[in-house]
């Protein structure tokens, strides 16, 4: 009797397809609802925030007022926070991506004593949660006298083990050893081979690590919370949390809820825009034509 296989026409396949789509829709809704809430909450007044339906706008559309409040309150400190977050994230992302690429290249393309052990260390570092590291980092920075400076946030963020892991795997695939050999025969030194030949072939991987490090830094709350204490150095995460704490503090506090929500809305926009802009670098295939598969 001949063996009959399944194809995309079989009823079982369609059923599985529908099931998968349903699961994904549920997950999408779960992910999107908080964002929807932020958008609607940022457009309400404080009383409305607590009295109207959370997931839709109220009759009083106050988005522009809230935004105005956001950028003027406390002498425009929010703009300072936004700028801080931005340049911490950009410098950390670029630095983390460069170091990850250098390390990934070394692991992927060279043999050296202790390589397996060092790579195991990197893998181990990926698994350590950030919260476990923040106190030791605090003590380190304190000894060096860098607490409460931008370096306190940027320097630890330059170390990005997931990036090393990603780049090693990517470089292993993306760059053939023969191209490196061709560079050696052409007389280029190892770093020259890396910078003028290999690096351009790595752009999709590099961009991926860049974005991941950028988002990690942009969203980082715990590290800046611990190592910074002057408001002018705060990133948006710590700043907004500060406002929220003072809004809920003891007697009356400041009615800052809608301002916090407007701040939250503004703070997620740059990351979304960055993702959209960087999309064209995600395309692979940069090595096409260089080496016959």
């Amino acid at each position: 009797m001949a063996i009959v296989g399944k194809s995309s026409q079989s009823p079982g396949f369609q059923r599985n397809r529908l099931l998968m789509t349903a699961v994904l829709v549920v997950y999408f809704i779960y992910t999107f609802i908080p964002i929807l809430y932020v958008i609607t909450a940022a457009s309400k007044t404080n009383p409305d925030l607590f009295s109207t339906f959370g997931l839709w706008f109220s009759n009083d559309f106050k988005l522009w007022d809230n935004l105005h409040e956001l950028f003027t309150i406390q002498n425009g400190i929010f703009l300072q926070w936004l700028w801080n977050t931005f340049y911490y994230a950009v410098i950390s992302a670029v630095g983390a991506a460069i170091f990850s690429t250098l390390a990934g290249y070394a692991f992927a393309k060279y043999e050296f004593v202790g390589k397996k052990f060092v790579f195991a260390l990197v893998l181990g570092a990926v698994m350590i949660p950030q919260t476990a590291l923040v106190i030791p980092i605090f003590l380190l920075l304190s000894k060096v006298g860098l607490l409460n400076t931008p370096f306190a946030v940027i320097l630890p963020s330059l170390v990005f083990p997931p990036g090393v892991f990603l780049m090693r795997a990517y470089i292993d695939e993306a760059i053939s050893n023969e191209i490196i050999d061709a560079g050696r025969v052409d007389g280029a030194g190892e770093f020259h081979i890396f910078s003028s030949l290999a690096f351009r072939m790595l752009m999709p991987g590099f961009t991926t690590v860049l974005i991941l490090a950028f988002v990690a830094s942009w969203n980082n709350y715990f590290l800046p919370l611990v190592v910074l204490n002057s408001t002018e150095h705060f990133p948006v995460t710590v700043g907004l949390a500060n406002w929220y704490a003072s809004a809920t503090a003891g007697s009356g506090g400041n009615l800052l809820y809608t301002t916090v929500m407007a701040g939250a809305l503004v703070s997620i926009l740059p990351v979304i825009i960055a993702f959209l802009i960087m999309q064209r670098f995600w395309q692979g295939g940069l090595q096409a034509g260089g080496v016959k598969a």
């Binding site: 191209i179 007389g187 020259h192």
Partner: protein, 353 residues
């Protein structure tokens, strides 16, 4: 004076020996081909000459200088890789200029060399293209161009035609032969294809499992193979090898009940006899030295190959020029050998005569 000399060169990875003791001299302008099956160490030997791997033992001399501890560029060699290894983010011109830019040659000199190589290889229409916009044959020519502009002491080729289709392979083979004549350059070429070896080489080095089996011109290897391995590696289709013993009147071929007469008495110690397909003729049954049955007939138009089984031996190959219309499957025929053209092998595989 030898341009490239290898003395006692050895290579192992850990405990695994890849190249045994290799001694070789390559003269100026010679086209030398390292040939052998997969795993024979030919690519490793080439990489040792190139300087891409370090020797575990021995020395390499280029132009009389000991280059054993020098890197690839310092040895003044160029290499063409099996996968072309073009720089994908550079144009054809960029690929060819890269090595010269690294060497900090003046711009005018770089352009002169690149344009000259482009003219030789007919790459002028493609100079501003990136490798992904080129065909396989064009990419191969760019790889060769990149090697030419360095004006090296010798060119190294690592199976450059393996990735091309059959027709293109023949075309590029002829291009490489012409290039060798035009440049009069020393070339070391690695291939597993003995046809490329036979057609291109001045000198063939046959390798098996890290050891040199024989070094000689193509016809020397064809007519006088030093051992069983070389005899069966060179020549397509393979030489027929049958177990045989000296007997009165010549050689008794095992499993066939037949004897091949020899002009002189067979030396003692003969264990195998070899006959190339074109040195056996098909004659009517009873007229030949041994008799057999035709199993398969392959007709190529220019040649006919008959695969004959004789007694216990399967697949003796016989070549007939042209279309041998009279040969049919299942036919009982006799095989006649040419005694002067037989190859006799001892128990250690070495040729006795």
């Amino acid at each position: 004076m030898a341009v490239i000399a290898l003395k006692g060169v050895k290579k192992s990875f850990g405990n695994v020996s890849i190249i045994g003791d290799v001694n070789l001299e390559i003269a100026d302008g010679e086209f030398v081909i390292f040939v052998g099956p997969s795993g024979s160490g030919k690519s490793t030997l080439l990489r040792l000459v190139a300087g891409l791997e370090d020797c575990t033992g021995g020395q390499i001399f280029i132009d009389g200088n000991d280059v054993t501890n020098l890197g690839p560029a310092e040895r003044e060699l160029s290499m063409v890789f099996q996968s072309y290894a073009l720089y994908p983010t550079k144009t054809v011109r960029g690929n060819m200029s890269f090595g010269l830019e690294v060497a900090k040659l003046p711009k005018a000199e770089i352009n002169r060399r690149v344009d000259a190589a482009a003219a030789v290889l007919k790459l002028e229409p493609y100079m501003e293209r990136k490798p992904k916009a080129l065909s396989g044959g064009q990419r191969q020519r760019v790889a060769i161009g990149r090697a030419i502009v360095r004006e090296p002491v010798a060119f190294l080729f690592d199976e450059p035609l393996s990735n091309l289709d059959a027709a293109l392979r023949v075309e590029m083979r002829i291009e490489i032969a012409k290039l060798h004549q035009r440049l009069d350059a020393t070339m070391i070429y690695v291939t597993h294809d003995q046809v490329e070896a036979m057609t291109l080489a001045d000198k063939i080095v046959v390798l098996d499992r890290g050891d040199i089996q024989q070094v000689g011109s193509p016809m020397e290897l064809y007519d006088h193979p030093a051992n069983l391995f070389v005899a069966q590696f060179i020549g397509s289709p393979k030489m027929n090898v049958m177990a045989a013993k000296p007997s009165s009147g010549g050689l008794a071929v095992a499993d066939t009940g037949g004897t091949i007469p020899l002009p002189a008495a067979a030396p003692a110690g003969v264990v195998n006899v070899g006959a190339r397909p074109e040195e056996i003729s098909i004659v009517p049954e009873g007229e030949g030295h041994i008799r057999g049955t035709v199993d398969v007939v392959e007709r190529l138009g220019s040649d006919t190959f008959a695969y004959v089984s004789v007694g216990g031996i399967e697949n003796l190959t016989v070549r007939i020029v042209g279309n041998a219309a009279s040969i049919a499957v299942g036919q009982k025929i006799g095989l006649k050998f040419t005694p002067e053209r037989l190859h006799l092998f001892g128990a250690d595989g070495k040729t006795i005569r």
